[in-house]
């Protein structure tokens, strides 16, 4: 397949699968009977992000921080208001549907709610095989069936369950169906949007291990792992980006995130997550954030975190800090660092 025949190329280091540059995603807000536009929500406010081949990049933050919007903008499920998205060396920011479709084959999405994202009236086999049919990737019926069976085995489901409908599976198994569907077209990037949040503790571990094993086994598969649970994100990710009100405030390796967090918000977020060990807990420092996340309709000036920040100085309310590298790929956006 000649995929990038008329698509604009973009300069992208060979090891990057995805590069997002200065992405803004804005949603208009309408009020009243006349549906007059009263403002815009800057869900993503100038994010630059690269995802390397085969790595897992975690996006973490509290509700409304724009992590899901950013993940979806990477697939162009939401149209960025400005900025560019490059996927595997192709600038896909302005591609039309027809040109985008063969490229989308290589990207996939796993959803939070495994029941809501599977058609209740279709068999599991039909659901998993749908991408193969859409992209016409198999040459014969036998080939198609062999491939669907292969996908079932890959995610640890018994292929003899192919004819069952989603409600006959447990939550964890349904998420496996969602993962098998995402893997159908051999993607190089999967956006995992809160893939384990709806599952029980014991199921979460099974799915996280499965995602890791698939990545190790398939090679060259990158994940963008969007979740609110910092322990989960840190466990599965190589690098983690912490988001607050549409911006990345800190981006660093998983190890540094816990051992050397620099942004006051990251520090508070880490301190708020309880560790399941009472002996560790009794000796931990507590940082309690006051107040709540401000409305993204009317974000604070300067650094958006300054009204809640324990280390804020007057300059923080005037000047919005840039995300800058403080060495070793550790990026922080804070005037005090």
């Amino acid at each position: 397949m000649n995929e990038s025949c008329d698509a604009p190329a973009c300069a992208l280091p060979e090891e990057d699968v995805l590069a997002m540059t200065d992405i803004h995603v804005e949603f208009p807000v309408f009020r009243g009977i006349a549906k007059r536009k009263v403002g815009t929500v800057k869900a993503v406010d100038g994010v630059t992000l690269r995802v390397k081949r085969g790595e897992t990049l975690g996006l973490v933050g509290e509700s409304g921080c724009g992590k899901t919007t950013l993940g979806r903008a990477a697939l162009r499920l939401y149209e960025p208001t400005s900025g560019s998205v490059c996927f595997e060396g192709t600038d896909i920011t302005h591609l039309k549907d027809r040109a985008l479709r063969p490229i989308r084959r290589h990207m996939a999405l796993i959803f939070q709610d495994p029941s809501g994202s599977l058609d209740p009236r279709k068999s599991a086999g039909h659901i998993v095989g749908e991408p193969l049919r859409i992209h016409k990737l198999t040459s014969s019926k036998a080939d198609y069936e062999r491939r669907v069976e292969e996908l079932f085995s890959l995610v640890g489901l018994d292929p003899c369950m192919m004819d069952r409908v989603p409600h006959e599976f447990s939550g964890g198994q349904r998420q496996r169906i969602g993962i098998a569907r995402a893997l159908a077209c051999d993607p190089s990037l999967i956006i995992c949007d809160e893939p384990v949040s709806a599952l029980d503790v014991s199921m979460q571990a099974q799915i996280m291990n499965l995602l890791k094993d698939l990545q190790a086994g398939l090679g060259n598969l990158a994940y963008v792992f969007v979740a609110h649970d910092l322990s989960v994100v840190r466990h599965v990710s190589d690098r983690v980006a912490v988001m607050y009100l549409g911006r990345i405030v800190e981006l660093t390796s998983s190890a540094d995130l816990y051992h050397d967090p620099r942004h006051p918000y990251t520090q508070a977020l880490l301190a708020a997550v309880p560790i399941p060990d009472p002996y560790v807990e009794q000796d931990r420092d507590r940082i309690y954030l006051e107040g709540e996340i401000p409305s993204p309709l009317d974000p604070p000036t300067g650094c958006t975190f300054h009204p809640r920040c324990p280390r804020a100085i007057p300059a923080c309310s005037e000047e919005a800090p840039e995300l800058r590298d403080i060495g070793g790929g550790h990026e922080v956006s804070c005037l005090r660092v």
């Binding site: 503790v201 014991s202 571990a205 560790i275």
Partner: protein, 328 residues
């Protein structure tokens, strides 16, 4: 510390078209004054169903099939479900906070009106006194400018603020016992920390005892004094938080602890999940319900019925033939 609440051999059945589900199967626990007790387990293990039964809030097709709930010298289950004695206890002396703060509040009444209703149901206050009390309660749970916020509707509050309103409502009549069913599951982590700290401080200040129902082992480790681990409707292990985390005796407890990622773990470490699926509660075999998923099972587990909860010393009870502590 004196004993406040004692639940003995509580059983709850749900009648479904496919058969009877015993969601709670002989659960016993105790709660002392100023104590924070955690009920831990995965969905469907009966932790919420047991708490609803304590309040006699079990709804059809569920039925309380047996047991005793001893509180202030009475068995609450002997009171008529909607009789005056039960209504005095429910919301008055024992209050409950639910998981979904947004859906637990009435969207067409102001927050103040709902607080006043809770107050006046149980305390003989005039309307103006109740209004003052509502403001006072909102201030107690850390609402900024409570005088104006009482006139707001629930949709004008964030999730965390709604949960604070629920806590305020729970505390409105100075209950002896507060039961919180997954109080922070719907909240963000920084808000979760605020709400849990608030609840712990209130327990200390007001002398209320607290039962926290949760699946979050981190929350348990940080806030709870004693734990009851539940599986398939039964308590499989109980003891002090430190004891359970340091020396888990039941393979399920150990499995839970190994399957959660820890923030302080070394990067690249691997989780050890509990294999298999939780049991179907219809037609349970007589043997241990964890047997099909248990990595430590011995022949005795397959041959004999589910073991009794037995003490291993220091207030630590476990329902298992293997008893991991001795094997180690």
């Amino acid at each position: 510390m004196s004993r406040l609440l004692e639940v003995r051999d509580l059983k709850v059945d749900f009648y479904t078209p496919n058969g009877t589900v015993r969601a709670v199967d002989g659960v016993s626990y105790t709660l002392d004054e100023r104590e924070i007790v955690g009920l831990v387990g995965e969905s469907g293990c009966g932790k919420s169903a047991s708490q609803l039964a304590v309040m006699q809030l079990t709804e059809s097709p569920g039925v309380i099939a047996g047991g005793e709930v001893l509180f202030e010298g009475h068995d609450l289950l002997r009171f008529a479900k909607n009789g005056p004695e039960m209504r005095a206890v429910r919301g008055g002396k024992i209050a409950m906070i639910f998981q979904e703060p947004m859906t637990s509040l009435n969207p067409v009444l102001t927050v103040g009106a709902q607080l006043e209703e809770a107050v006046r149901t149980h305390c003989p206050l005039s309307k103006s006194e109740a209004q003052e009390r509502a403001v006072e309660l909102l201030r107690l749970v850390g609402t900024p400018s409570p005088e104006t916020r009482v006139k707001d509707y629930p949709h004008q509050f964030s999730g965390g603020m709604c949960q604070r309103v629920m806590i305020a409502m729970g505390l409105s009549c100075s209950p002896r016992v507060l039961i919180a069913d997954e109080p922070t599951t719907a909240l963000d982590v920084t808000t979760q920390a605020q709400v849990l700290r608030l609840m712990r401080n209130l327990v200390e200040e007001l002398g209320t005892a607290l039962v926290v129902v949760t699946h979050n082992l981190g929350v348990v480790a940080r806030y709870v004094h004693r734990i009851y681990v539940m599986y398939a409707g039964r308590v499989v292990e109980s003891g002090t938080t430190k004891d359970i985390f340091a020396h888990p005796r039941h393979p399920y407890t150990l499995g839970l602890l190994k399957s959660v990622p820890r923030l302080d773990e070394r990067h690249g470490s691997r989780l050890i999940p509990i294999e298999g699926l939780p049991p179907n509660l219809i037609d349970m075999p007589g043997t241990c319900a964890f047997l099909p998923r248990c990595p430590n099972a011995i022949d005795r587990c397959r041959e004999e019925s589910w073991p009794e909860l037995e003490s291993v010393g220091g207030g630590h009870d476990v329902r298992c033939y293997v008893n991991l502590g001795e094997a180690r």
